[in-house]
């Protein structure tokens, strides 16, 4: 179940990875020669789904993650000429999704005090089927997302970038604009907190 996230794929491999794309897109040029529109299409095709999923891990809500990721792609279009590189563009998209998720959460914290307990929908906004196996999976997913939401902002961001996006310590430091030492500290605290709350789903092999 631990697939490498789709966003590790390079846009030149877009044909086989473009599962979220509306239509196959044929790459004919080197990325450095892409104009902003082409870059947007290519990067959207490869990264849209995995970036929304990253957003769901941080913000805990599908609709909001879609909004935030959409914003990130609009911002990317304006910035493409400066980036001119799919790897840098992906780093920028991730950074934008995570930073905007943090702002969105702050905004929502105020709104949500009046709107808690909204029923049996899962935290991702997806209604899952009712069979036992599906129910178990559904509960597990909801509890993982809830455990992430219970972490302080930085720890949650580091957890998502480390375990979902597979970023290195240095890459996380760049994305969040914090020191590597701070990343290390958030990573160890976040992992310890998740280990405590998700103990039902973790096998102790130490």
């Amino acid at each position: 179940m631990c697939q490498p996230p789709a966003d590790t794929a390079r846009p030149t491999n877009v044909h086989s990875h473009a599962t979220a794309a509306p239509a196959p897109i044929v790459v004919t040029d080197e990325p450095a020669t892409w104009d902003a529109d082409t870059a947007l299409e290519q990067l959207y095709a490869v990264h849209w789904r995995s970036l929304v999923r990253l957003g769901v891990l941080v913000v805990g809500d599908l609709a909001q993650a879609e909004e935030i990721t959409q914003d990130a792609f609009v911002a990317l279009h304006a910035r493409w000429r400066r980036l001119r590189d799919p790897d840098k563009a992906l780093a920028y998209l991730r950074q934008t999704v995570v930073n905007r998720s943090r702002s969105a959460l702050r905004h929502r914290a105020v709104v949500n005090r009046h709107a808690q307990a909204t029923g049996p929908r899962s935290a991702t906004g997806i209604d899952l089927p009712g069979s036992d196996e599906a129910a178990v999976a559904s509960e597990r997913r909801a509890r993982v997302l809830a455990a992430l939401q219970d972490l302080p902002d930085r720890q949650r961001e580091v957890m998502a970038l480390r375990y979902y996006a597979g970023l290195s310590e240095a890459e996380i430091a760049d994305a969040l604009g914090i020191s590597r030492g701070a990343v290390k500290s958030h990573a160890s605290r976040g992992a310890a907190a998740l280990r405590a709350t998700l103990t039902d789903y973790l096998e102790d092999r130490s």
């Binding site: 979220a20 993982v144 970023l167």
Partner: protein
């Protein structure tokens, strides 16, 4: 940390991937495209907002810079004209500091200003404080398209703009746009149909003068009390001030800013009793506190304003 390096790491990575494995977002590429600003034909200075705006998504605000707003006016006959309310519009101008050129914030009273959107015109018309200058000649900006939801403001440059604006010139625009909109946006600079640069705000403490006056305005007439406002990041929040007439200090004390340290400037304000001063022109100087007395570092940052005691 590139690869999960312990059993716990591996299991947590599995759990996080699994948690979103069934999340299938809607295809939103069309929505993204619809929000990207496009202009059908190159347009020149002087166009009124309208036609172009119709082609854009509803969240986007278009403002064509139709002319220079008037600088500070205290003339009640003008201010009371029904053409519009006078608004204090923030703009950032360049001035010298002990660490080289930095930005100072100046408020100018603009009649009929579009809230949050008149700052660029002020960058063209220039500062009222003679110690400041602008890096953008008249006619540099053609149009500003704001898309705060995407965190981007698009600024269209004309041929009158510097060919290769310095970093400080770009920051002049970024800081002015952000102050006007009260949004933490980036600025995408366009020339014609091309985005030439997209710039985020540089850190305040490396970009701004560490002390900057908002009030009084340059040349303001006062009687009785001088109201002073500004922002600073100064040692122990102390902002020393003095009033100078013909190179002689006639009064001095200090303000206390709301905070210090941190990564930004903090507001300070106070009143100075000037009722005992003879009529005439004086200069108010505020500085950052320099506990070393100039023996260490670069020496204090400062800002000044002339004012007239009636």
């Amino acid at each position: 940390m590139n690869r999960p390096d312990t059993e716990l790491d591996r299991q947590l990575a599995d759990l996080l991937h699994d948690a979103v494995a069934e999340v299938e977002p809607e295809d939103r590429l069309a929505d993204v495209r619809a929000r990207i600003p496009r202009r059908a034909t190159p347009r020149r200075w002087g166009l009124v907002a309208g036609g172009g705006a119709l082609a854009l998504a509803a969240t986007v605000t278009v403002v064509a810079l139709t002319g220079n707003p008037s600088p500070v006016t205290t003339d009640p006959d003008i201010a009371d004209e029904p053409t519009g309310v006078t608004t204090a519009v923030p703009a950032y101008f360049v001035g010298e500091t002990p660490t080289g050129d930095r930005l100072y914030r100046e408020f100018q009273a603009v009649q009929g200003a579009t809230p949050g959107l008149s700052g660029l015109a002020l960058l063209e018309s220039g500062p009222t404080d003679p110690d400041y200058r602008t890096l953008w000649p008249d006619g540099s900006f053609e149009e500003q398209i704001s898309d705060p939801e995407a965190g981007v403001v698009h600024v269209f440059l004309t041929d009158a703009a510097p060919e290769e604006p310095s970093d400080l010139a770009l920051q002049q625009v970024v800081y002015t746009v952000r102050a006007g909109l009260q949004e933490q946006v980036e600025v995408a600079f366009h020339r014609g149909e091309t985005v030439v640069d997209t710039v985020a705000a540089a850190p305040q403490l490396q970009t701004l003068s560490l002390v900057s006056l908002s009030d009084p305005a340059e040349g303001q007439q006062v009687s009785g009390t001088l109201d002073v406002k500004g922002v600073a990041n100064s040692h122990e929040a102390t902002v020393p001030w003095r009033i100078v007439k013909d190179d002689v200090d006639v009064d001095a004390s200090f303000f206390t800013a709301r905070d210090w340290m941190g990564e930004r400037l903090f507001p300070f304000e106070g009143e100075i009793d000037v009722s005992s001063l003879d009529p005439g022109t004086y200069t108010l100087i505020v500085e950052t506190s320099d506990p070393s007395g100039g023996s260490e570092g670069f020496g204090p940052y400062s800002d000044s304003r002339s004012f007239v005691v009636e």
